[in-house]
Amino acid sequence: MADLVLTKRMIERPDDSWTIVAYEETGGYAALRQALGDMSPEQVHEEVKASGLRGRGGAGFPTGVKWGFLPEGEFPRYLVVNGDEGEPGTFKDRMLMERDPHQLVEGAVISAYAIGAEHVFIYCRGELRNAYERLCRAVAEAQEKGYIGSSVLGSGFGVRVTVHRAAGAYICGEETALLTSLEGYRGWPRLKPPFPAVKGLYASPTIVNNIETLSNVPWIVRNGGAAYAAMGTEKSPGTRLFCLSGHVNRPGNYEIELGTPFREFFDRWGQGVRDGGRVKAFIPGGASAPWLDSSSLDLPMAMEALDSVGSMLGSGAIVVMDETTNVVRPVWNLVHFFAHESCGQCTPCREGTHWLEDILERIVEGRGRRADLDLLLDVADNISPGLGWPPAQTTICVLGPSACAPIWSTLHLFRDDYEALLPAESEVAAGA
């Protein structure tokens, strides 16, 4: 078994892992001392590159490569930490913010040093009151101890950290929408390019990284990038927090090595499906990911493996449904979510997601028509032409295509569930 990178402290000290005392007693801020004392910013960057760490927010982009996109010599630069966790099925960043906020703060300060950022913003989801309060306290404590300030630990490197409380808009988890929101506007995504690394917050070079991503950085500095890369698979190195929920006996967050097969994860850590049942369907990587059925249970939980079957490991959220489930209602639930969270900028998403929701609603309520199944695909195809993953899109961001993925993937795998909800032909004829 690989070392635990992210959750060791919270498991060993469940009663006070979030305090500065517990953090310092368990080796906290040693990585920051090491980075500032013995390493140049370039060396820290090299270790993160060598670790192969990939973003944990959903897209899975290699972190070290992302940092490398900053234009040389342009300042000020900002580091923005994405803690707007809201992807249905995902609840890991909340745990990291609540149970180990100092690990995140240390990772963020080290990363700011590596990329030359003078100000870090931690964008925390508004509905997570406890997470926000603990983050604020951790930042204040770190400031008192000199881990944040105009000359961190007397090194001459200065950084400010601001915890920013969001206010309920899933789209702000999309990095450009997050920046627009942080600037004080409605959270509308922006066209890319320019990418945030070139023109981000206040049109300055900006790196946006997820909470879990940066929480890995202290360990990588202490143990070296190579040690991190030795865990997991070649293309998905390290450990990862997987959020398991739905019809399993033991849902929860589990830090395991990338590459473990889903079946083992469900049976061993999830303790199997409720009531001794079997898996019918599962969502392998958050609400946006195309669904899979039981024939995919032996896939390893690694980004490249999910890519190869046209889905994704996304945010690491896995929702399991047992054989008693008709998938259409949960699909409707997700599509309602995306329609509700559409920012309204792009016509195909603003209009299309509501049409999809309406059609699904009438199917769920037993008022569907046979032609609705093709109509769903037709509307979805206007939002995400070709209906595949990674998606083609007619929109600025991928929210619209994300609403389509549950529909086309379940119409392919579980068309019978849709048909079972359609009124019998005789009823239709009688009603006509």
Binding site: L244, P251, I283
Partner: protein, 203 residues
């Protein structure tokens, strides 16, 4: 109505604005300051915010109205947010929500006649491992069974949110019961090194 941002509140607002390179970034934090105190954001408070950060009131409302947390009308003493997200729904949260509404005799997103509770069915609350989840004033209660919801709220009504949350609420995301076993379980029993598996072999 007297001004909201006066004295200590004004000092706190000025300090908050100074945290950002550009004043406009302080919109959400200032709106939160108002709502945390009053339970909603009155129009006059938005005018004050506009003056503090050199915007028009319309620009403040334009931003504020995008975010679902902000309310522009008075609400009940406590905000009850039942998670309607997929994992909670699979484990009965919509039925839980309905039972609460029926018990208190209010419509969805309504307020009880005595002004104690305002209800909402919220989008995924990031508590899927503790489904069904309920937030009361953004404090978590997890694994709330279909019949427990009403009891929980009656309890809060008679004994206060703080006392009930201290006993029954989740102060933090619970550690997975299996997390410790996961470390002790030792090496994963997978037969082949996943590095050896090509994408073709997986599909």
């Amino acid at each position: 109505m007297s001004k909201f941002f006066e004295g200590e509140r004004l000092e706190a607002a000025v300090a908050k604005i100074a945290e950002y390179p550009q004043k406009r970034s302080a919109i959400l934090p200032l709106l939160h300051m108002v709502q945390d105190d009053l339970g909603y954001v009155p129009r006059d408070a938005m005018r004050e915010i506009a003056a503090l950060i050199d915007l028009t009131p319309a620009e403040v409302l334009g931003t504020a109205s995008f975010y679902t947390m902000f309310r522009f009308e008075e609400r009940g003493k406590h905000l009850v947010s039942v998670c309607g997200g997929i994992s909670c729904m699979l484990l009965g949260s919509h039925e839980l929500y309905r039972k609460m509404l029926d018990h208190f005799g209010v419509a969805s997103h309504g307020t009880t006649p005595d002004g104690t509770f305002t209800f909402e069915l919220m989008e995924c609350a990031a508590a899927c491992g503790g489904a069904p989840a309920v937030e009361v004033d953004y404090l978590f209660f997890e694994n709330v069974g279909p019949d427990e919801g009403v009891k929980l709220l009656e309890d809060i009504k008679s004994r206060g949110l703080e006392a009930v949350h201290a006993e029954r609420g989740s102060v933090t995301a619970p550690l997975s019961p299996g997390a410790v076993e996961a470390i002790e379980a030792g090496p994963s029993p997978r037969t082949a090194d996943p590095r050896a598996q090509s994408p073709e072999a997986m599909s």
